[in-house]
């Protein structure tokens, strides 16, 4: 049946509901993904665990008061888990008590707030910075720079290195001159392209800008600044373009990636000082290159699609292409990675807490609770160690399961 005859019949036989079998019920992309998520066992279990933790934690935070600063009762030190009040221990402690007689159940429930908070903030930091850098890198790697981009790139390079020269000479107006040189090179991009004259012109100008003012300071300074100026001038004379932006960003990411993540997090916390907030920042910074790489590679995949080429062909602006066409299509790997990122952030936050670099006692935090109690393991008080760790494992497992389910749900092509 052709399209035309069908629509014709549709008009005549509308009431019979003739079209029902031909036109599929409308489903949105997200609705479809949700269905697939709900139909997978891992996704369902993951979502259930995560929801359970979130609900319990939020309820406890707002409706179950707890002040860790005054929670202390030496008479109840290391009470094993009890579910029924006895004469010795009149209160109920389902998870037992720790070395200060604090109820572990209560602290585990309240510790969830800190863990979730760390996870969300840390992923937020890595995602916003790393995602932005990855977007820039991926986009400019395959797109020609427009005039604005060229101005920023050339001006930026000249400004950065010009600042070095200006600092050495102690003459800050040099920065302005160098930036002007960079901007000029960007504006005059048609001038003598590919000829040695172009390099000679800009390198010569750079030499003058660097050396002449520096002569005021000392001859040796003039030599060094002149050399720097020469290099800056020669650099901005080259036909620099997008891949350079990408290369700079990705090399910086490589440096961050050169450190094993837990080690870098420990180093950053040692630098900033211990504490939950600094822990979040450290874990967030550690995650930046992961998101930058992920976003860059998904942008590179999306940008080679026909719809982007088509958009460019009909004259859609770069910013619009980026926001309307590229960003939405890179969302699914980002969502999956962020879910798994929450899992690893919670895991690392626990590690920092365990090493005494995360939450500061008496703040309830699962990793810190383990760190406070593990020395007593040999004396038999297993409960102080088992339950906080179990909580970490469960929530991390929940996020990982959810991430697995989301990957299958959001991108069915990836399914193995």
């Amino acid at each position: 049946m052709t399209q035309q005859s069908m629509s014709g019949q549709d008009g005549e036989l509308g009431e019979v509901g003739f079209t029902d079998f031909a036109v599929r019920e409308h489903r949105s992309l997200w609705g479809d993904a949700w269905r697939r998520l709900m139909s997978s066992t891992t996704g369902r279990i993951g979502l259930a665990i995560v929801l359970f933790f979130v609900v319990v934690t939020v309820l406890a935070h707002f409706f179950w008061e707890y002040d860790p600063r005054i929670d202390l009762d030496y008479s109840l030190k290391f009470v094993p888990p009890t579910l029924r009040p006895t004469e010795e221990v009149p209160s109920i402690h389902p998870f037992g008590t720790d070395k200060l007689g604090r109820d572990i159940f209560r602290r585990v429930v309240h510790g969830g707030w800190n863990s979730l908070r760390v996870g969300i903030y840390a992923v937020g930091i890595s995602l916003s910075i790393g995602g932005f850098l990855g977007l820039l890198a991926g986009f400019y790697e395959s797109m020609p720079l427009n005039q604005m981009g060229r101005l920023i790139l050339f001006g930026g390079i000249a400004l950065l290195f010009g600042a070095l020269s200006a600092w050495i000479a102690g003459l800050w107006f040099q920065v302005l001159l160098f930036t002007a040189l960079g901007v000029a090179a960007a504006l005059l991009d048609e001038l003598w392209v590919g000829k040695p004259g172009r390099v000679a012109l800009f390198a010569g100008l750079g030499l003058l800008i660097g050396a002449v003012p520096a002569l005021l300071v000392s001859p040796m300074t003039a030599v060094v600044c002149g050399l720097l100026g020469l290099i800056i001038g020669a650099t901005v004379a080259l036909p620099l373009s997008g891949p350079l932006v990408s290369a700079i960003i990705m090399r910086l990411m490589d440096i961050l990636l050169a450190f094993p993540s837990i080690l870098l997090a420990i180093a950053i916390v040692a630098m900033l000082g211990p504490g939950l907030n600094n822990g979040m920042i450290a874990i967030g910074i550690v995650g930046i290159p992961i998101y930058a790489r992920l976003v860059r590679s998904s942008v590179l995949t999306v940008i080679s699609q026909e719809y982007v080429t088509a958009g460019l062909a009909v004259g859609v602006g770069q910013a619009r292409i980026l926001i309307r066409h590229i960003v939405p299509n890179t969302l699914s790997p980002i969502i999956v990675q962020s879910t798994m990122g929450l899992a690893s952030a919670i895991l690392w936050a626990g590690a920092l807490g365990f090493l005494g670099l995360g939450a500061i006692p008496p703040e309830p935090e699962w990793g810190a609770m383990l760190g406070e109690s593990y020395r007593y393991l040999t004396s038999g008080s297993w409960w102080a160690v088992v339950f906080p760790g179990l909580a970490i494992m469960l929530i991390v497992l929940g996020f990982n399961l959810l991430g697995d389910g989301l990957r299958d749900a959001l991108d069915p092509r990836l399914q193995v």
Binding site: T42, W167, M220, I255, F259, I262, L377, G389, L401
Partner: protein, 350 residues
């Protein structure tokens, strides 16, 4: 090929320089004056000044424009960072603040302990992970596959610091099967040659020590191996599943080759590349993960040393240990890249 390796080696240089800058800044940005840390709070000002002079702390961080003004190019470059690089090139990582011993020496002593632990862990992780991955790919959707997948997901989600504690609780405290920590029992004597205790005890024919060291190694190595094992198993499985759909696998089955030959000679050989990547990456991660494992099991390696140094605020040790691990990590990745060329002749490097 040689050209590719050389180019790859050169491309590592900026990364390593960046790493040294980050680590150098790390020590300088930590609040507190290292000279005061060495001498104590109540040291006389002139002593502090003398130490600052000795350590070069009175020099600028990166470059010295003032020296240049006087026409002194050498002074222009004679700064803290350049001096630091100079010391590094001579293998000098500075001295520990509290013990006053050269850090490079102590690292040399402690590195074998960490290496022994990490290599055992990666060996266990790789062997078990690859085998489990292959089996679950070959028997897709079977009970074995489900167990492997659930187990590996639990393994990835496992906080190893907690797993280590649970192992101590069960196998050391409750069952008394294995020791709770350390590398060797105090009563056992062992003549050290390489500081790899397993190798040492074999070289010297000290079987009693070999049994003792192995017992000490089991728990920490298993705890450390959990993450890489799970990740390698998942990677091997998905990589194998992809390869097993290829036509040549069907052909191999059709011409009546044995299952094992098909899986290993035709399947694994082609599925191995991503697995090698993961194994290489995990080796670096393991060294860092050793910080937690060594702390729990009182294993006298670099990780525990860094942890103790953080607590004691002995930052030059943290700096030296971090630098060593970061360098090893960078070179492990490099090795993985280069090994591609040998493993997969299809890859050409121009």
């Amino acid at each position: 090929m040689t050209r590719y390796i050389i180019r790859r080696l050169i491309s590592v240089i900026p990364t390593l320089l960046g790493v040294t800058i980050v680590i150098f800044l790390f020590l300088r940005l930590i609040p507190g004056d290292p000279a005061v840390a060495m001498l104590g709070e109540h040291a006389a000002t002139e002593n502090v000044e003398r130490i600052r002079e000795q350590l070069g702390l009175n020099r600028p961080l990166f470059l010295d424009p003032e020296a240049l003004e006087d026409g002194d190019v050498k002074g222009f470059l004679d700064t803290q960072y350049i001096r630091y690089l100079g010391r590094l090139s001579r293998g000098d990582l500075g001295d520990s603040i509290h013990r006053r011993v050269p850090i490079a020496e102590s690292l040399k002593e402690r590195f074998p302990a960490t290496a022994e632990l990490a290599l055992t862990a990666i060996l266990v992780g790789a062997v078990v992970g690859v085998v489990a991955g292959i089996v679950s790919a070959a028997r897709r959707n079977s009970a074995v596959d489900t167990v492997t997948m659930v187990g590996s997901l639990a393994g990835v989600s496992m906080p190893i610091y907690w797993l280590g504690l649970m192992m101590i609780m069960v196998f050391a405290v409750m069952l008394h099967w294995l020791p709770a920590g350390g590398r060797i029992s105090p009563a056992t004597e062992l003549e050290t040659v390489t500081n790899f205790y397993i190798i040492d005890s074999i070289i010297t024919g000290n079987w009693e020590a070999l049994v003792d060291c192995t017992k000490h190694l089991i728990l920490p190595a298993l705890a450390l191996a959990t993450h890489p094992m799970s990740i390698i198993a998942r990677m091997t499985r998905s990589s194998m599943l992809e390869v097993l759909q290829e036509d040549y696998i069907r052909t191999a089955h059709a011409k009546g080759l044995r299952e094992r030959v098909v899986l290993f000679r035709h399947g694994l050989k082609n599925a191995f590349l991503p697995v090698v990547t993961i194994i290489g990456l995990q080796t670096g991660v393991l060294l860092a993960g050793a910080i937690l494992t060594e702390t729990i099991f009182s294993w006298p390696g670099i990780g525990k040393w860094i942890y103790d140094a953080i607590l004691a605020r002995d930052y030059p040790i943290v700096q030296g240990g971090t630098l060593l691990i970061a360098f090893i990590f960078v070179f492990a990745n490099l090795l993985v890249d280069v090994s591609y060329a040998f493993l997969d002749p299809r890859i050409h490097y121009e």
